[in-house]
Amino acid sequence: MQPILALDGVSKSFAGIHALKNVSFDVRPGEVHALMGENGAGKSTLIKVMAGVHAPDSGDIRVNGEKVRFASPREARAAGIATVYQELLLFPELSVAENIFLGHAPRTTLNALDWTQMRNEARRLLDDLDSHELDVDARVGSLSVANRQRVEIAKALSQDARVLIMDEPTAALADADARRLMDVVRRLRDRGVAIVYVSHRMPEIFALATRVTVLRDGAYVGTHDIGDITEAELVSMMVGRPVDQLFPKVDAEIGAPVLELRQVSYRDEVEDVSFTLRAGEIVGIAGLIGSGRTELALTIFGITPATSGEIRLDGKPIAITSPKQARDLGIAYVPEDRGLQGLIKTQTIRENLSLALLDRISTATIVNRARESSLARELIKRFGIRARGPEQRVRQLSGGNQQKVVLAKWVATEPRVLIMDEPTRGIDVGAKAEIHALMSRLASQGLAVLMISSELPEVLGMSDRVLVMNNGRIVAEFDRALATPDSVGAAMMQTQDLAEVA
């Protein structure tokens, strides 16, 4: 069958950095074509090229065999290509029906919006998606994420999309919702819609996809029929080398317990979590997005203080109610969202590096600029931050160097416990290895490290122990020796079954 949408030799670069290098991709009516790759592999850029957000620097886009050039997302939509982005683009104050039809609402003969028809059509579209209980008059702001996603999909369908691009649609969903969404995808596929499906969840890919294409570092790696490839082969295509080589984990002497959690809960997001973290130990937390991993970190760090349970530091019970308090107790948190939570991007490297320890380099609250500068220079050297100097603004640095600034800033506070949330998200392979080496070195110096990551190879490669979370709980624990992709993956599957029963 002829592809409905085909990209041929597409390249795109931003500010001299290649985001896509000569990538080819196509999708046929009635198939689900999975697009895979690690963070920063170029999936998002490829999606945006297809959706008309970015124009490619070179290469062709064909719709039904005809060469096209999209000047705007609107033109791509007119050509039948709809996109459901990860960050849902909805209007919280408007109703479900209106969100679905905004910009292309049915009109009456007087050219007024036809609300009756709009509501009926919305009803029909949602029923098609098996969402009978979703009220077309509900305000979108009051809906759950899963329901918002259905609204977003209905919106795409309302414009007669022939190609539907879905960017990690299940990332923020609980398992039951994710399964319902997969049913919707199958139904659309059977109806002849061509679906481009981006996901990190292997089981989903194998359950849904007809073909799978892998990107790595902005380059095309290969396309396979799903029946011709195994999960292990897919991983090695994505990673590009054997997993062991990537993670320079050195054995460190594991010391006394530093951080202990006893039945810690935060509302229903973190439930009954207990574990012990020892000096010199790296504990990895695996789990899907939305499983409560980040929520656990935020609770330990005092952003969302625990609603029940006990946290002990060096055996003494402590109550952490604010990040300031957590910091003063020696807990550091390298957050998930570097740009928003980790850095003040408009400020200089020096200002960012000193932000968490200003009290220590000031006398009578007056900041000692000389000490601050020498501290910054020392950290830049120690962490190998590639910058013109301490006065360069952080936003001018590459992602990897920005991440090193965040890490340096927290290590400089001389913490006892270092929590790292997605420490290598969206940074290039070289910088990744450097971060991993740093992490390993810090642990060997006696720091207790808690690492959260969506990348299973990273969790397996770096951790002394692996905890698996789901639905806010820790559901499995593995020692390094026993933690294999199969065992941890199986534990994650098992937890899905548990969730199903629950």
Binding site: L102, A105, R124
Partner: protein, 328 residues
Amino acid sequence: MSASSPAAARAAPAMHPMKRVAAYGQEFILLGAIVALFVVVGVVNPRFFGANNITNIFAGNAYIAVAAIGMSLVIISGHIDVAVGSLIGVLATISGTLAVNGYPIWLAWLTPVVIGVVVNAGVGSLVAYLRIPSIVVTLGMLSILKGGLISVTAGAWITNLPEDYLIAQFRLFGIPSPVWFMVILTALVALWMRYSGFGRTIYAIGGNVEAARVAGIQVERSTVIVFAIHGAFAGIAAVLFATQLQVIQSTVPPNLELTVITASVVGGVSILGGTGTVIGSTLAAILFAAIASSLIFLNVSAYWLRAVQGLLILITVLADMARRRRLR
């Protein structure tokens, strides 16, 4: 297609009456508050129901409701205008000056509307294209208009207004024309906001600018248009204000911008943008006028009026924030 399945064929049920009440919650609350106020004050002091007082409440404050219509559009789109009082003062003076100097009456009526559109389109352009926060632009405009007006006119009275110019004193079926203006314009704009593409565009921009952009809405152009429409309503309000009495004082009516903003915000237009209706703002304008009037009949000093106004805004905004947090 699964159109054959019975579920897919079913039409959306008609909106449940309770849902309608909930959707227009603020409007019903305001209506209730107005009725309650009238009853209570009327019982304490029956003279509150005097024909003069009722006319004063409705006809004398209709121009505020009209200005609040435009203000509501601006706030729904996510902006604010603190210069509207000064603009009305300037436009009223221009209108009156044209009228006494022998220009055609229609020109005296139309000119303020045109100038209002032009001035606010300029303000809107600064906000939309140069990305200057609307509070700063309009704060600047406030002083330019206010200072300009007083330096030119020294606050002089404009007298000898021609009789047929005084449109606010016309009556149709015994009802003063400002009330007609208020009711008809409110109804028209309410319908337009609900049934026109552009009306929904305003909500979209105020609700989520990024999503609006992705939906293909020209955010900048639409913002300028919203400000321009607001200018037109300021023009109409200015004519109604100018023609209320036989004379016009060429100054800025004190506190007018706050009264107009109060009407919009208390009427349920969320200060964070994206929601609200002009029916609410008109009801709120009436409520506020009734409160002002009732202070007199309850023997409370009118000097407390502004404190009441501040409290009203504060309570409404806090309630709005609480509502948003509940929904999250």
